[in-house]
């Protein structure tokens, strides 16, 4: 399948995503410059982590207006898969592709540490290769990762089972201590209603090799490749 990794000014993790997909998974990956229009065929677009536009004003607020985002929004509207990691998640929220917003960590400090995540839903292209309740160990590293949405939005997220990942302790309990940033309901990752756009704060691309924090990040990417393989079979 074909992956596009979007490079904004201030993106930091684009190379990590690229290496993970190419080196660890043998995928076809292309960098896409934010000033260009989206052109060519892609199965999944990744908005990587980093500090687009320095995160000045608000995380993701300026990147959302980059020329390529028009194409990304259209692509998502047509059911294309879009994955936003950390700053990418923030951009997707600012762009309205995902509900809610990511605000300053409750502890006011940047937080970098491995965390435990519980897979809440598996009927999405991003988690289909995992099991409900399965624990993943991935690093978080952000200063504005506290997920906020108004009560009605939150209710909708629960009703539509759009909450895909929650921060939990080593035993799988979503406790306050296990929540690194004060996110409502320990939310670490959500998808949109049509389940083709996924944003998460933790970094799967930094947990893709036995020498690193873990290899659990590969489960997210391999879910996506598996999902695409299925849809291709359908079309074939």
């Amino acid at each position: 399948m074909r992956w596009g990794v979007i490079v904004f000014p201030g993106s930091c993790d684009e190379q990590d995503v690229y290496d993970c997909l190419k080196q660890e998974m043998g995928q076809r990956v292309k960098f896409l410059w934010h000033k260009d229009e989206l052109a060519g065929h892609f199965d999944c677009l990744v908005l990587p982590g980093g500090f687009s536009y320095g995160d000045y004003l608000r995380c993701g607020a300026m990147a959302r207006f980059s020329p390529i985002m028009r194409g990304v929004i259209k692509f998502a509207g047509q059911g294309g898969l879009v994955l936003g990691i950390c700053n990418g998640f923030q951009i997707l929220c600012e762009a309205g592709l995902l509900p809610g917003s990511l605000v300053r960590n409750i502890g006011l400090q940047f937080v970098c540490q491995p965390v435990w995540l519980r897979v809440e839903e598996t009927d999405t292209p991003f988690t289909c290769e995992t099991k409900k309740g399965q624990l993943l160990k991935l690093p978080v590293k952000h200063g504005e990762g506290c997920y906020y949405a108004d009560p009605s939005t939150l209710e909708r997220l629960r009703k539509n089972r759009q909450i895909l990942l929650r921060y939990v302790d080593a035993k799988g309990k979503p406790t306050a201590d296990a929540n690194p940033n004060g996110s409502l309901d320990n939310i670490a990752g959500i998808c949109n209603e049509s389940r083709n756009v996924f944003g998460l704060m933790p970094h799967p691309e930094d947990a893709c090799h036995k020498l690193l924090v873990s290899e659990d990040g590969l489960k997210i990417f391999s879910s996506i490749t598996a999902a695409c393989a299925k849809t291709e079979q359908l079309h074939a």
């Binding site: 000014p9 320095g54 400090q109 970098c112 540490q113 020498l211």
Partner: protein, 744 residues
Amino acid sequence: MRDQKPTGYSEPPVTPARVASHGITPEEYQKIIEILGREPNYTELGVFSVMWSEHCSYKSSRPYLKLLPTEGPHVLQGPGENAGVVDIGEGLAVVFKMESHNHPSFIEPYQGAATGVGGILRDIFTMGARPVASLNSLRFGSIDHPRTRYLVAGVVAGIGGYGNCVGVPTVGGEVYFDECYNSNILVNAFTLGITKKKRIFTGTAKGVDNPVIYVGSKTGRDGIHGATMASESFSEEKEQRRPTVQVGDPFTEKLLMEACLELMEHDYLVGIQDMGAAGLTSSSTEMAERGGAGIELDLSQVPLREEGMTPYEILLSESQERMLLVARKGTEDDVKRIFDKWDLDAVVIGRVTDDRQFRALFHGTEVARIPVSALTQEAPVYQRPASPPANLDEWQRLDVSTVAEPKDLGAALKRLIGSPNVASKQWIYRQYDQYVRSSTVIASGSDAAVIRVKGTEKGLALTVDGNSRYCFLDPYVGGVLAVAEAARNLACVGARPVGLTDCLNFGSPENPEVMWQFAQVIHGMRDACVALQVPVVSGNVSFYNETDGVPIYPTPTVAMVGLLSKVERVVTPWFKSAGDLVVLLGRTREEIGGSEYLKVIHGMVKGTPPWIDLKLERAVQNCCLEAIEKGILRSAHDISDGGLAVALAECCVSGPDNPLGVRIDSHEMIRGDALLFSESQARILVSLEDEKLPELREIASEYHVPMEVIGRVSEGRFVVEPLLELPVEELRSIWASGLSDRLK
């Protein structure tokens, strides 16, 4: 030429008072007049003052720095360039350096530390290397000092705020708290980059008429005279008339880094250098010096952020995120196109000449003309008087028999591992992105950090160390131990040293006692570098770290880089499973002089630091390295601050999973507190499975390393027969919260 003034601005006359306020002595002023054959104008005075400042000219330290060994089979670039370069094989090279940003960080901790990181990053990518890992070495006043919490919070947030934003992981460092830093903290920032051996760039200006190109942020009135500030001591009233602090812009730095690295993929460049201390002045003159050329700048072309800036201000501004390039004539537009893509200014502001002159024009008028060599090689060099501190004997005198052994050694251990210098530093490194670049194999929390070199089987290990209390009590030994501990930290993860960089933080060189300490530390470092065969490839000197005449402890910080030929063989310091044997490589002696134990438990800074036999140190390290390379060890941890007991406790509690216990039964016949807390050097604590013991014995005897099986990893309890027994969970929580609780 001094009567012809460009329209629109006028310079103040050069008076003896102004000469003095620029930190130029009457003798130095005479020398300037001889060189120019006339009096300098105000702009030229400013140029001399920064280029002849201690910070830029190293006038007090140069004679001593010559003593350090800088050569080695793999050294591609030693001191003298923006950073050192070492060959790591497979066509790759590592580029690294450490820089101090002490005074700015005390005035404005967040911005001071942030811009310190920005500066060292530019030193690395200016050489053509992509920065891949950073360290930081910090010194703060007593944790109880009213200002300390504010300074720690600001400095750490600043380092993270900048480093995280540019996408370079901060993978390690060190931090110490001591009264001697109460009003002069230290912030030393280290960065390492990786590049192709064949693609190394230098700060050189050559080729007559090649364009000089300014790239990056616009120039404002930031930090004018930062270089001279770094060359003066603090005093309360100086803190009042604060200099304009520089504000860092990590976003622009990130763009600048990407643009420069992209530019370096083409062959448009002749030379490139960042504008650090003394900004445009030092970058342009140093480039001309290296290229044996002259340089002509048209200051009216420099992109400005503020109205009405004078040539003096433009030349001396220390605005951040700026670089100076010399490109091949005719490639100007290609260069511009690349910086355009990244939304950055790139402006031709001058040309290379062959007259060996530094010339600055402003709206068509020459405002400065100085021989390049006058600002570089011919800068003054001083053989400053040096003499041992009057009270040295007093400081070193310690009669151990007068040191009462605590009745409750368990309580002593608890106090020690909860003390700020020993407790977990997680509160700090949690604020740093340690994982970006997906290469971090061992992040902060181990003896040394380890990153993988993508596309190879290799790994790089990084550590920074320096115990200033040792240096205060015996600067020679302190210098030796700083290098020895750094190398030992590398050995513990399985890496062989390839080179080191250092920051030498001292008081005023005009104080003979400080100068003596400086000389002693250098001699100590030299001897250790020779014995352990580690070349010094770059470094930095920071003098005038004192307040109202009281110098800080002599504080050399040594950052060492090591290579693992097979990174998957890496070993971590914490115990792995109950039942494993615990073995001590090296021997424990009754050495509590200058120890953390003596300071924390007995409130004394006295005695002489531990004795060191460099042959044994080397043997212990090689023994550990071979054992790791043969895959015998499950853990290895260096024994430093707090001695054996603290090292054991760290092995039990510092791992990612639940803490393990240990049961120790040593036969060393010395008093209990010495056995537990003495900081004897050349010791490494390892754990392994029983069946591996014979192999380890073999290696140890081959290197003539004394080793003792001192106990076993267990569960639940921390036991040292017959001295103490504690629940390990209690130790863990004290260690984990010792620092964070004090910083809340």
